[in-house]
Structure formats: C-alpha cells, structure tokens
C-alpha cells in the first residue's frame, strides 16, 4: 500500500484533466490502478499514486497494465488503467477479448490521444476502439467533465458489465480548470467466482458469449439516447447546428455562441435518433470532431445529412481560429483579413538533449562512425536523429529498434553488405517491448549490435521509475533488473555484453567499433543515470580558456546545450581548403561537469571552473 498522505478534502480545486481523472478514480473507490507513462496521460497515475487506499503501479507496458486492471475487476474490485493512444495498440490484445468476457468490478480505461502531436509518433483516433471492441466511449470536454465522466464511467461499466473507455486528448489532459470534488467511497469486492464459461476464453466458451457484446452495445445505444451526458444547447442562429465530441464543444461554443450545439459525452455508440431530431431543427449540420470523420460517417450511414471533413481539417486540433474561417466558407461568406501582426519567422527551437545527458556521449560516438545504419526507438534518445549528431535512422514504435534492425540485417542486399546494423534503445523501452525483439535477434542469429542506454529512468515522460531502477511508483525499494544478466539469459554470449560509461568516449568508441565488426548479436549497455532524476550527482563545472580555444568546433559536435559559440571565423589552410571556425564558451552555471566536451578538445582549452560555482539548471541566461 502506498504511503498515506493527507488527501485534500472535497473542495473547489484547480485541476488539469489528468488531475481530475485521478481524483475521480480515487473517489470511485478504485482498488487497483495501473499505467505505463506516456504523454499526455502520464500525470494521471503520478497523481493517483499519492492518494491512499489503493494499489497504484507503473506497469512494464500498457498491455500488462490493462491485464492488471482486468484481474482486479475479476475479483470484483473497481479497477483503472491509463495510457496514451499508441499504448492502447499494445493493450488491444487484452481489450479485444476482455470485451468478450465482460467485467465484474467497474473497469475504466483512460486513453489520451495526442491531437496536435506534441509528443508522439502518430495522431491516431482512439474512438475507433469503442466501435472495434463494442465498448462505450465517454468524451469529456474539460476538467470538470473529466472528473464527472470518470465517476459516470465506473457506474456505466458496472451496469453494462463492460469496460468503458474514457477518451481524453492533450487539450483535456493538460488544461486546468475549476472542479468541485467529493470524497472517496469504499467498496468491498464481491470476490472471484470460478466460472470457466465466463473467464476461460477457449472457442467453446467464447463463442456463446459473442452475442453478449452486441446486446450490451444495444443497451449502451439506448442509454446514449437518454443520457444526460448527451445534451443539446439551444441557439438562435439556426443556419448551422454543430455536433461536437470532446474538447471541440468548448471551441464551438466559444466561436459560435448563438448556434445550436449537440454535445456528445457518451459518444459511442452514438445516439443517432437524438442526432436525427437535432438535425431536423437546423438548416445545416456540421460535425466538429478532431482527426477522423467517425461520427460524420455514422450519421451519414444513418441517413442524416451533414458536413464534416469536407470543410474541416482531418489533422490537428479544431480550435476557434481553425473553425471560424471554415464555417464562414461553409456559409459562403468572405474570410476577413486578420487585424493582428502576421506570424514572424524565427529559428526553430526543437527539443534538445539536456546538459550532461549521457546520451550525448552515445550520439557523439555514433556520429563519428561510418557505414552504419542506426535503428532507433521511442524515448529521449530519439533526439539523436537531430543536429548535430544526425545519428538515428528510424523510429517507429516501442521496441521496434530490435525487429527492424534484424529485418535490415536479413533483408540487406549488396549495396548494404558492408554496413553495420546498430539498434539503439532505452532501458524502459527495452523492458516495455524490446526484450522480445532482442530474443528474436539472438534466436535467429542476427548480426546486430544493440546499444542499451540504461539511464535508470523513463526519461522523456519525466523520469519515472521502472524495473531497472529497483524502485516502485512510490520510490520504495523493490526487485531490480540486471540488464547484463537479462541479455545473457536472452541468448547474447557473455563476452558480447559490455557495460560501459558513456562519459568515457574512447571506451565507448572501442566497444562499438569492435562489436560491430563481430558478426553476431552483441549488447553495449551504458550505465549513467538521467540528469533530471533526483539521484543524479552533478560534478565540478567547466569553463573555456578563451586564449586557448582554436575554434575547431569539436566540442560543439557533442551537442551539449551549455556550449555556446561566441564568434565565428574562416581560415584558409595550406591545402587551400577553407575551414569554418567556432570559438566557444561554456555556460558554467548550467554545466554539471560530465567532461564529454573536454575529450575532443585538442588544445586543452576546457578546464574546471575555478572557483567552483554553484551548479544550477538552465534558467535565465545572460546576453
């Protein structure tokens, strides 16, 4: 059980959508809540882990988190799991049979779509899962609704004996609003009932259960027609009636305050008869749904004429500044020129690796290697695809670096025969879905060198613990995975496994050069922690002796954001070749003394700052 903390009493609170879901999950008397971190859903479990009276966990992947939740539901407890949109792809194997068994204790699956793609590899629409799995989907429009619909979802789940999907988007998860909260109810689980026909999904048991999915769906549809979660806002301007799902309700109300709106909360199965009646009261219907034309297609199939993706974009958020011109065009009106200043061209500012990030050493080394194909994965180290390293060639899905590397090795022709295949994967991603891929590499004798970057954290989502840290979601000690032993157990020869310090560039380079020459699976594990986690120990910071800097720019190639170019120049060498020079300084207050930039500096211009300055994170930087 988690460390008991003082829980804020029922009050008017300023909560993000994620905070609000967490609060409601706790109030609903949930006993088990599990998740794998993923933007924009991560904070739900982080917040929930601070509430008392329930088991919370980071699971190793979303599928396991969903199975943990299902197990709790089987014994009659209320259960919850959360994930980002792509996480539900991983968990879908469990979902697609869980919908056949149904559930006992209320089971709610929160899935957060990254509409606008702030931090994901695709923009898929999770509302499809409701149709695919025949389970209800609830779509809140703000924090208050996220709270209320989470509570409603547990009740609906228990009424229908079905998992319920709570579909969030970035613009719900990461928006704060005022929410009136309540108190927790305690529910004693009814207990597990042994019943193979219910829980053992062999064909003979599963087949008779299939009709239950459709009966349940019919019941949900009937409920959607009368549910207070689906309602109509009247309006005097009946030229266009809007049908909205999720956060678009707020955008439509903002942009068109006088228009009638049909607001869907329980949006799957859609209340088609109510929508038909609504359509009859307006001149034209416009369906405002982000990404896929799902409701639009269903309404058209039901014979309800409407507009949708013919006038609205299929990609990204449908905020008021997107809606207004589109609706004007639909009405046949001119779109006025904006009165504000036009958007200014400013350099891009892509995310960077942190000062002293151990991945810097890895990517600096990879960027120095020739004839190498680098299969990448999902995490901070995906940034290795950017400048100055340009040392990551693929990024697909969690753990994909393994399988794609093997496929490249097996499929390559003459043109790639002399290339080395390297796979780069982080500790948490490796345990999430990479281990199986490595096993496939060893089993099928792949010629792949795996770089396993163990920074002891789920870095990109904020440094959460994982089985490699030896700490659970509460920071308490637990079993810890030994990656070298794990890789050996997966079939990598002991002499092909190296644990190296990524701050020691010559050691890392030697290990990589040697292992890529040997035509069998090998694993190089780097062992420096993420600089953002509490356990990171900064060292003495560095500075540049201006007189010694020759402007060679080698340190700039490391890619550390604490290194700044102060002056550029050009020189013509004896050979006649023109060379660019970059003279540098180090932001000493940001430097944590990893020493990576010192190593490629030939003139020894980088030395420890003296006197030692206090070490601070990058905050305000002087001109």
């Amino acid at each position: 059980m988690p460390v008991t903390q003082t829980v804020p009493a029922a009050a008017r609170m300023f909560l993000s959508g994620n905070d609000a879901v967490a609060r409601a999950v706790w109030e609903a008397g949930t006993r088990v809540a599990a998740a794998y971190p993923g933007t924009p859903s991560t904070e739900i479990l982080e917040v929930l882990s601070r509430y008392p009276g329930l088991h919370t966990e980071w699971s190793i992947n979303e599928k396991v988190s969903m199975e943990v939740a299902l197990g709790a539901s089987m014994v009659g407890a209320r259960a919850f799991c959360a994930m980002k949109h792509v996480g539900l792809n991983v968990a879908s194997d469990a979902l697609m049979t869980m919908t056949v068994t149904g559930t006992e204790g209320g089971l709610v699956i929160a899935v957060a779509d990254d509409v606008g793609m702030s931090s994901s590899q695709n923009e898929q629409d999770s509302r499809y899962w409701g149709r695919f799995a025949h389970v209800p989907v609830l779509e809140p429009a703000d924090s208050h609704e996220a709270y209320a619909m989470t509570l409603a979802a547990f009740e609906l789940s228990e009424r229908l004996k079905s998992p319920v999907i709570l579909r969030l988007t970035t613009r719900i998860c990461h928006v704060k609003g005022v929410v009136q909260t309540g108190e927790r109810i305690e529910i004693e689980p009814a207990g597990f009932v042994k019943d193979p026909r219910h829980w053992v999904m062999v064909p003979g048991n599963a087949k008779p259960r299939l009709p239950s999915m459709f009966e349940r769906e019919a019941a949900a549809r009937a409920e959607a027609e009368v549910s207070p979660l689906n309602f109509q806002v009247d309006g005097s301007d009946r030229r266009i009636g809007f049908v909205t799902s999720g956060p678009t309700f707020m955008h439509v109300r903002e942009a068109f305050p006088d228009a009638p709106v049909f607001k869907l909360g329980l949006s799957c199965p859609p209340p088609l008869e109510s929508l038909r009646r609504f359509a009859a009261t307006v001149d034209t219907v416009l369906v405002v749904e982000e990404t896929e034309p799902l409701l639009e297609t269903e309404m058209k199939a039901a014979g309800i004429a409407c507009h949708g993706k013919d006038v609205l974009p299929r990609i990204g958020e449908l905020a008021p500044d997107v809606l207004e011109p589109a609706v004007r065009r639909l009405r046949g009106e001119a779109v006025p020129e904006p009165e504000h200043v036009p958007a200014q061209q400013v350099f891009p500012r892509p995310p960077t690796m942190c000062v002293a990030c151990p991945h810097l050493g890895v990517y600096y080394t990879l960027s120095q290697m020739r004839n190498v194909i680098i299969s990448g994965d999902i995490g901070c180290y995906t940034l290795g695809a950017g400048h100055p390293w340009n040392a990551l060639d693929t990024c697909i899905s969690m753990g994909a670096s393994m399988g794609t590397a093997l496929g490249m090795d097996k499929g390559r022709g003459k043109v790639d025969a002399n290339k080395k295949v390297v796979a780069v994967i982080g500790d948490s991603t490796f345990m999430h879905m990479g281990m199986q891929g490595l096993l496939d590499i060893t089993w099928n004798r792949g010629n792949v060198t795996v770089l396993l970057l163990d920074n002891r954290a789920v870095g990109m989502t904020g440094g959460q613990d994982n089985p490699g840290t030896g700490r659970d979601i509460h920071g308490n000690e637990t079993a810890r995975v030994d990656f070298a032993q794990l890789c050996e157990a997966l079939g990598v020869k002991k002499e092909r496994i190296h644990v190296v310090d990524p701050y020691e560039l010559p050691v890392l380079f030697k290990a990589l050069r040697e292992e890529t020459k040997i035509e069998e699976p090998s694993v190089i594990i780097t062992n420096r922690p993420c600089v953002l986690i509490d356990h990171y120990q900064p060292a003495k910071s560095y500075t540049v002796i201006e007189d010694r800097c020759t402007g060679c720019g080698n340190c700039v190639e490391v890619g550390c954001p604490a290194i700044h170019v102060t002056r550029r120049d050009k020189v013509v060498k004896a050979s006649g070749k023109e060379v660019d020079l970059s003279f540098v300084r180090i932001e000493t207050s940001a430097c944590t003394g990893c020493g990576l930039c010192v190593q490629p500096c030939a003139p020894e211009a980088i030395v420890h700052a003296d006197p030692v300055q206090s070490v601070q994170s990058v905050q305000f930087v002087r001109k």
Binding site: S119, H174, R349, C380, H387, C560, Q616
Partner: protein, 202 residues
C-alpha cells in the same frame, strides 16, 4: 468575449513558464474568476518552445487563446516573444525579458538568432516593455528570482490590483520556502519598477 482576459506566457523549457502561469491563475481564482490554463508540454522540458495560455473571466469556454486575441504577452525569452507576437490583439501589451537563450541549432550555425527581437516587435507597432530580468535577479542575489521579476512586471497590467498577484506569489513561498519570501517580495517589486510601476506598501 470582452470580459475574458487572455494572457499568453512564452519561453523555453526549463524557464518556469508553467509555474509562473500557475501563480497568475491562482491570483485570478482567488478573486472568484472562472479560469482555464493550457499548455503544450510534451517534449518542452528538453529546451523546446513552451507556451502557456491563461484565460479568466465570468465563464471561460475554450482554453486556447487564438492569434490576435492575447491582451498580454509575457515573454521569458526575447526570440520567443517575437515568435508569439502575432498572438497579441491590436492594443495589447508585451512584457519581455531581454535575456536570450541561444539553442544548439543556432550555435551550430544552422540558423541565426534575430538581431534585436524587441526592436523588431516595436517596428511591428506593438507596445513592448523590455527589461533584463536575468540581471535584475542576479543583482538581487539569486538568478532563480527571474520568474518572480517577470510576474512583478505584469502586476500592473492585469484587470485586478497588483497586490493580489503579489499575495499569490508570496503565498507559494510562504508555505514551501519561507526563507525566500523576502527575496521574492523584492524581486516582485523590482519587476514592477522595471516597467514603471509604483512600489506597493510592504
């Protein structure tokens, strides 16, 4: 629409943009306003672009400020203020830290940092109050006070008294870091004075 106040805070991941907006939101909530705040976080912790939208009024619907509707643009970094200047409504005000954070992409010589972002904004006809929050904070003895300097600078540009925001700032430190209350009080006042505001009685 007109009763809603729209504040856009922008900067670079790690600067404290979201915390500053949170404090502004707390001040608005303390007066009973309906408040919504949103940002695109995601990968922004890694030195990327960060914007935080704050809207408050009687009832707030959409959490997003659309281009040309921000009453106030608070730029924690010069080039970021320029990047988001199209969000200001005609007649809106920009409060800009003249300090710069130069990203690796500029250090590598792939892009140029604008010569003078504040001058560019003024040339566009925008009302800009620029000040060096970094130096003000450093002169007060702690570079981390820059955040409070920025909040002080916007205190006299809000539809409520400066004292409400100052109370919200100090309330934060009062419980978490009481030894920093006085330093933050000074930083807040220094920020106000940097844009021509009068001192509040302590």
């Amino acid at each position: 629409m007109s009763q809603i106040t729209n504040i856009l805070v922008c900067g670079v991941g790690g600067q404290g943009v979201m915390t500053a907006t949170e404090i502004l939101a707390e001040a608005a909530i303390s007066l009973g306003f309906d408040v919504k705040k949103t940002e695109v976080a995601g990968m922004s912790q890694r030195g990327g672009v960060v914007t935080s939208h704050l809207r408050f009024g009687k009832v707030v619907l959409s959490p997003q400020i659309v281009p040309g509707e921000a009453d106030l643009l608070i730029g924690f970094e010069s080039a970021e203020a320029l990047r988001w200047s199209h969000m200001l409504r005609p007649g809106g005000v920009a409060l800009v830290n003249s300090g710069r954070i130069v990203p690796p992409i500029v250090n590598l010589g792939l892009f140029d940092y604008p010569e003078d972002p504040v001058a560019k904004m003024r040339a566009l006809g925008l009302t800009v109050h620029a000040f060096d929050a970094t130096t003000i904070a450093t002169d007060l003895g702690n570079i981390r006070l820059g955040n409070t300097v920025m909040l002080g600078a916007c205190a006299d540009h809000l539809p409520f008294p400066a004292q409400v925001l100052r109370d919200a700032v100090l309330a934060r430190f009062g419980t978490r870091k009481p030894h920093l209350v006085e330093a933050n009080r000074q930083a807040f006042e220094a920020g106000r004075q940097a844009v021509g505001g009068d001192a509040l009685a302590a």
